[in-house]
Amino acid sequence: MNTNSNLYTVVYTTIIVVVVAALLAFVAMKLGPAQDANAKAETLRQMMSAAQVRPTEELYAAKNAEILQLYADNIQEAYTIGLDGEKNGELSIAKDKIELIGKLKPQNKLIKEGGDATLPVYIFKSGIVAIPVYGAGLWGPVWGYVALQPDCYTIAGAYFDHESETPGLGAKIKDEAWFREKFIGKTVEWGEEPAFRLEKNAEASGAANAVDAITGATMTSKGLNDALNVWFKAYGKHFGMGAFLHMLEEHAIQSKED
């Protein structure tokens, strides 16, 4: 048989491609549930790391089942809000059917274009509230969880992750504990533009809502800054009242002092 004829070549490549595609589709289908379980546990680890439920290393050393248990033990309430800041759904927190909004990309699109977004709010028994952020880094998406103290104003912790930022530069947003620890004690100025600043020399301004960008990772820092601000803006209507109350409280303290 002439293996160099055009017909043979076309038929051969077609068959190879179809067989390989079918095989890969089958494997992806079979492994899907196990991968989803891993992804879910990963989301919970990041969220609980930000919410200071356990130290990050401990969370990453724990098995998936332990993570689900830990979440079920520590979560108080989880719900979703729309872009109007009103609650529009409940997320199950029962141990055997934990619901999460794990896929942040479609939500990010809804925030930007307007639509029926379901932005998750996770409230832990400690009173700490965790919310996600998502945006575009240099090479791929960057995302993370920011946890707020019960006043919904002070940051209790943060955890950031990325898909393919440069190791040693942009990847520092995930790899370096000092970076996420810088966010602890900072504030989110709901309703202000920007609500948070992750910029060069931002800390020098002395503002409570500012963290320095990472040297050598300008685009990743910028991407994360946008991610924070786009999502903080979307959550602003929901948490804005908390910030307002906080302001009143400060005024009250100040008046007393006066």
Partner: protein, 203 residues
Amino acid sequence: MAQKLKDTILNPILKGNPITVLILGICSSLAVTVQLKGALVMALSVIAVTGLSSLVCSLLRNTIPNRVRIIVQLVVVAMMVILVDQLLKAGEGTYAIDKQLSVYIGLIITNCIVMGRIEAFALGNKPIPSLLDGLANGVGYGLILVIVAFFRELLGSGTLLGFPVLPASYIPNNLVILPPFALILLGCIIWAHRAFDKELQEK
């Protein structure tokens, strides 16, 4: 025959080592050798991909149209790489490592060792020797990876496989964590290899 088989297995590990002699796969060996665990998973992944791709391509060798043989090889290698990636993502213990290795698992496809061995060996040899040749080349690559990662994790973090082995008074050397040090280390390994095996030295 036995001698030929022995050469097929030993040559890629020693005299024809893909990294130290053929200087292939340098990029990934700099990138994934910060920790021993990641290097081991990467090494096993590459061994699986080179072995199985060589086997499949060897089985198909008489049917592949010559004009599109590179494309067919590419499809086979890509399939193997995706399979490995999917399996790592599905395993509970390997998920975190897969995330850590991130793009480098997917980039195994661009590792010249894989396609190089298919083109040079698998297309002209029977399936079993091709499988062995692929596996041996993967081992040759993995061996160097593990050696580099051993020193980088030991000196850069003071740990091995995550367990602390050096006394707490040891201050981890940050230079060792950075890719340039891997290149320096690789140069030293190549130097040692050539000093040990005089046949590798040019006249």
